[in-house]
Amino acid sequence: MEALDVGILTEWLTRAAQRFGAEQAHLCDLDAAIGDGDHGANLARGFAAVATKMAGAETASGLFKMVGMTLIGTVGGASGPLYGTLFIEMGKEAANHATLDQSAWAQVLAAGLAGVMARGKARPGDKTMIDALAPAVKAMTGAADLSTALASAAAAARLGAAETIPLIAHKGRASYLGDRAVGHQDPGATSLAMLLAVLAELVG
């Protein structure tokens, strides 16, 4: 596959909704350890709403903006505006590209990352979803082709999520815990890695 079209992106998000439904309890448990235990429920609710609305999207840009708005309107919590911003900024960038090939997708994802960082003010190492997203964006460049790039991004995100375990959190609820957050994987980084894994599995 050379590029991601709106059909495959719709399929991605449909499967992501299934995945978050299945992983809801797992993500809630991660959040219960260092947050308030709702991350899985928040994403499951938000992506379930997304899944009911995707039919008829004509462009990747339009699709992503709709996804972003839907997440903002249904997820709540910290992850709602952050995931929402991710997709809205991805949608804005996607509008600049006729086809979403490897290089375009790298820019789309980078735009999403920039949006999340601007909104949430977190930096790498703060034990947030940024710790999965930033390495994924980096891993997109230099890969042989799109599917390899997506696989590398997913792998980098998974690794980045795992690497949040020893960290103290500096943003979000987990930051209230100080040392007590050490030893737990960040739920938002975990869900972000899942989202990218679903895409890699689909295209790979």
Binding site: C28, A32, D36, D38, A41, I72, G73, G77, L177
Partner: protein, 333 residues
Amino acid sequence: MKKLINDPSQVVGEALEGMALAHPGLIRVHRTPDFIMRADGPVRGKVALVSGGGSGHEPMHGGFVGRGMLDAACPGAIFTSPTPDQMLEATKAVDGGVGVLHIVKNYTGDVLNFEMAADLAKEEQINVKAVVTDDDVAVQDSLYTAGRRGVGGTVLAEKICGAAAETGADLDAVTQLCRDVNASVRSMGIALSACTVPHAGKPSFSLGEDEIEFGIGIHGEPGRNRMKHERADQLTEMLMEPIMRDLPFKRGDHALLFVNGMGGTPLIELYVVFRKAASIAAQHGITISRSLVGSYITSLEMAGTSISLLRLDDRMVRYWDAPVVTPALRWGA
């Protein structure tokens, strides 16, 4: 999990319907997006106050909607901040033409969602200001955290600012007053038990028979540290110490003492805590001239308490005493 609910996903909506049926003279409930507004709103020419946050903290915030306090409240899912569309619609519904103040408890989710809502409201030409409350001394306020949480002080800010708005203060004045109240109040809480979020179905953490969590927030999360359970007087000393240290009081100051229940602690125990907290204040030469005792900002059925101490000036006393007519706080009218 035994709860008086039908379906975890319907609790918030069904409770809203119950509130609408119970308090038709005071509030109106809007569904999809969900918000509660005062029955007689919007009030032309009055600054409107909008707050909101996750559900599970009842009566906050919905129980504080009404004359002399909030114009609207936006309830999210249990312990999950509401979404910008709720806040936007609530803001539009209560705007009386002279501006809207968003009172936002400092949690990443609440702050981000309210920020987005304020941006959207400004696009619709509504003059929106926001004050973020952060009175919880359990959290280190530093570059390395999300900052202190907004807890019990928020209730006091909503009451005092609601009275100011009701008596004609403009948006700048109400906003400044809200900042002043937030700057003058400090809070600290403990949990004796965890709570169970309906969709999770199990307690958010587990505590041993003689363990408590010290320095908790209001979302069922663990606190600053776990410690051995002690007698009420000792726990009260431990709660008061960081409050008194953080907001230096001087002899002769007047204060409002708010002893709050987390939801599962009987009122009789809150009065035992109040007794000791008041005596500690008295030892420091501080006069407790106003008080609030009860479960006003809760974490579902969590057992525990939080203490908030607000240094009062004359203006705050006057606004505290002013009439308020809401489902949960009511006096003077």
